[in-house]
């Protein structure tokens, strides 16, 4: 039991090497776009919500955006991003179910083997909207992995 934490930490640390930059990629031409993403810039910081639960979630997300995300940058590999997913999830369902949806999404985000499992938006990020996870089968609109979703 003593070494479990060490083994898990070592596993996570060593797994980073799987996606380490290979030598030839280092010198390849980078297609950089230095424009700030419009969605990122036009975040809605309002506190408008129709119930106290959603107000709490919106306050937490606003705080995260203002103090962390806006400073750190738009790094989430998913669209909507995990914080926006939490808001969408709470809007689609309720605060408790929305939180469960968020923790499931966050676990999937932690998975380092997620490549090739989701459709993508034009920018290359994984498209994973909240409405797929509401337990309502009618809302599930299956899109094959790696297909480009042009709506965003």
């Amino acid at each position: 039991m003593k070494y479990v934490f060490t083994i898990i930490s070592l596993f996570i640390l060593l797994s980073m090497n799987l996606y380490a930059q290979s030598d030839w990629e280092k010198w390849g031409k980078a297609e950089n776009d230095y424009k700030i993403n419009e969605n990122f810039r036009n975040r809605d910081y309002s506190f408008e919500s129709d119930n106290p639960g959603k107000f709490i979630i919106k306050s937490l997300v606003n705080g995260y955006w203002f103090f962390i995300s806006d400073v750190d940058g738009d790094n989430c590999p998913f669209r909507p991003s995990c914080s926006a997913f939490l808001l969408d999830a709470a809007k689609e369902t309720n605060i408790f179910q929305g939180s469960l949806m968020f923790f499931d999404r966050f676990t999937r985000d932690l998975n380092i083997f997620k490549q090739g499992k989701y459709p993508r938006v034009k920018s290359g990020r994984y498209y994973d909207p909240a409405y797929l996870y509401t337990l309502s089968k009618r809302k599930i609109d299956y899109i094959p992995a790696n297909e480009i979703v042009t709506s965003e």
């Binding site: 676990t107 083997f113 299956y142």
Partner: protein, 276 residues
């Protein structure tokens, strides 16, 4: 002298003027057929319609309908196919193409209502194939495969079996598995990476909580316990939703494979000589 030269050059242009009219019916038809064979269907329709203004011709009407069908403008194709009269030599073909268009556009109920009383094998095949896309009750296996050629029966029966018993996975079972061992429900659904991550996240926070409580760090103990609880329950919830998505994927792949197979087989209708 200057005027004579100018007049000479001017009159000279008539010597090379066009002798046949470019917009003669025959030329329009040739051009339209060329566009049609090159699969430039929309422009071929506008050329055929020019001809129809001059003379009535059921071949052109049929080709216009085929062109609309090919570009999946199903409403117009249905209108054009149903406009072909009983006296026309294309009546039988257009009837089949009409039902094929209904099939293509996903109007299965209308198709089933129309074809349920027809005995011809071509129609029966379309009728049975439409059952594979709807929730209607399927005929028994032997009757179902009977109208199809022997060489295709095995493929058709594979789709039949998939329709009857789709390889769905149970959302309840995957949720229960994740409740017993975090992440195992996801592994059951083939999401091995997600499963391992969920197991690591839940066990890591449980260990951190246990370790902090055992060292009398109660605040941190409760904090990690809360996080561990949400990772654990979130994973159970996620396993249930992942099973729903897995089943949606099964349906999607079944429909896509069946549709592709039928398009390659031209819906078991005789091939049309116009499109080559």
């Amino acid at each position: 002298m200057k005027k004579i030269f100018l007049l000479f050059f001017f009159l000279n242009s008539f010597a090379h003027s066009q002798t046949s009219t470019l917009h003669a019916s025959e030329n329009i038809r040739k051009f339209a057929d060329h566009l049609f064979s090159e699969k430039d269907f929309l422009r071929s329709v506008s050329e055929y319609e020019k001809l129809l203004r001059i003379e009535h011709n059921d071949t052109l009407e049929f080709k216009i309908a085929l062109a609309y069908q090919s570009i999946e403008n199903n409403e117009l194709a249905l209108e054009k196919f149903s406009g072909i009269k009983y006296e026309s030599v294309f009546y039988n073909e257009s009837e089949k193409e009409y039902y094929k268009t209904l099939f293509q556009s996903g109007k299965y109920e209308e198709l089933q209502n129309n074809l349920s009383k027809k005995d011809e094998k071509g129609f029966q095949r379309l009728l049975y194939l439409s059952y594979l896309f709807t929730s209607s009750e399927l005929p028994d296996q032997k009757n179902f495969s009977e109208p199809f050629p022997l060489t295709e029966r095995e493929n058709i029966l594979n789709f039949y079996k998939q329709k009857k018993e789709p390889p769905y996975k149970s959302s309840l079972f995957s949720g229960l598995m994740s409740a017993v061992l975090p992440g195992s429900g996801k592994i059951y659904l083939g999401e091995i990476g997600d499963g391992i991550t969920a197991f690591l996240a839940a066990s890591l926070f449980t260990f951190l909580s246990y370790d902090n409580f055992s060292h009398d760090h109660n605040f941190r103990g409760w904090l990690f316990a809360g996080l561990g609880f949400f990772f654990y329950t979130g994973n159970i919830y996620g396993s249930v939703t992942a099973a729903h998505i897995y089943n949606a994927k099964v349906d999607y792949e079944y429909n896509a494979n069946l549709r592709e197979y039928l398009q390659n087989k031209n819906y078991f209708l005789p091939p049309n000589d116009f499109i080559k």
